[in-house]
Amino acid sequence: MTATTSIRLDACAKTFANGIRALWPIDLHVRPGETLALLGPSGCGKTTLLRIIAGLEQPDSGGRVFFGDSDVTLEATERRGIGMVFQNYALFPNLSVAENIAYGLRVRREDAARRSHRVAEMLAMVHMTEFADRPVSRLSGGQKQRVALARALAPAPKVLLLDEPLTALDAKLRETLRSEMADLLARLQITTVLVTHDQAEAMSLGTRVAVMSRGRLEQVGPPQELYDAPRSAFVAEFVGSMNRLRARLIDGRVELGGDTALHYRPHDVHLVNESDAMPTGRVVARFFLGGVTRYVVELVDGQRLIVDAFGRSSASIGESFGVKLGRATEVGNAVTHDAHLSD
């Protein structure tokens, strides 16, 4: 069983030597055993935050990193007891699969018997037993990802850090490995921080998700909370798709235009007979995605809405419909960027 720990960041900011500010002061708490997904577009500072946790970057003065009660801010990476999976895996090309997994155990001077037992255990865990002696240069992307995960977990780290671990893989493989990884993390109960720009990855792997934008935390919470109650327009639009409709609701009737905005998820908007609902609109684009068909509908005043229709749906481009609006999503007031968000 892994001795896991909490992670706490106090006012961790980062300005690089060239003056570029990657992070504004961030407070964050990762509970023992949970998986926190750092989600955001590229350049939002999520990888820098992960590297600060790993000790690969130092926060600006005043920033503090705690593992449990210990202040590890000044501890070198090699003394933090972490396991890390890098975006391009960074497997050692001069070592075989088994030797890569054994690396951390050798560093800790584990005796040969314990080492080979642990390597066999890790190989079995990631279904790579038959590849033990293979040079890593002869592995596929998915196999490399598995070896990287086994290598990071072999020394039983207190904290697991995953930097875009599935990004380099094709879509189908990504889906398979995502579900394998979700099983594994749930089983191991190790404190994990996962960096990703893929919302599906963040929401399926993260116990909680921290959405980041331009070096700041926008919102931290369970995936469903972010989806149902986004605290800012950025979160609303980054987590899932969101329609922003300039309109007002007056006695249940929709009046288009004005300065106020209503937010609707695409699956909360429905296409019905033209006479059954107001406002009306015309289909201008249609994307068949398998289980769902996505329509772009232009309303009478020119505003456009995305509508998801589940199951078989055969509306065609140019056809007119009534647009029935379901539950509006409450988007909190724009979060002031100086606020420090915590859980």
Partner: protein, 267 residues
Amino acid sequence: MTQSRPLRFYAQLALTLATAGFMVVPVIMSLLAGVTENYFAGLRGGLTLRWVATVWNMYDATVWLSLRIALTCLAATLLLGVPLAYVLCRHSGRTTRLLEELLVLPVAVPGLATALGLIIAYGGLPAFRTSWWFILTGHVLFTLPFMVRACLAVLATTDLQALEEAAASLGAGFMHRFVTVIIPNAVPGIVAGALTVLTLSIGEFNLTWMLHTPLTKTLPVGLADSYASMRLEIASAYTLIFLVLLFPLLVGIQIAGRRLAGGNKPQ
């Protein structure tokens, strides 16, 4: 059925063989001269190892000194060059670029000038000036850039930072990372650099001629001496010893490099 080869193939083959012959024939002639009784009589005069024995009796000290200097020079360039290549690779800034350029200066400047510089700077230290360490200093100055460049070329193609960070995340301190990650990934460069350093040091004449004393004569200096003052057979036998000495060393380094590299194949 084999297809008949085009005329161009035979033309290229002939050109290759002619070029190889043009380069190899003088070497073979020289080697043969070292084992013939009389070069001017040719093979009809008979073969002998007499000249080789004579050279060995007269110049064996130069052979051992050259070997000692070359191997020490190799050790020094490995100890200085590999870490230096690592630093230049990891910290590519204006200062490191300048350092890289400065490092190549001894190659660009004529050997005689470098030797003169060394004599002016350290000529006042007689113990150093008259020892083989003085020649070694010249050789290290001259060969270090070749070791650094060879290692740098290989290291630059590897994502060193990622590999090092991975090793650190697994608990490896700097020295451990250097030995288990950096060096194994630099092996092809180290082997290429070692071959160059060894051959350059053993064959170095310009610098060495200026730096040597009668008691610190190296193989090439002795060779020049024998060309100038002995019969042709003796000088040729000397060349033969030179090649016999160098060949196993070069093959040995290649084999050691291949073993060290292990599974280190390009990804």
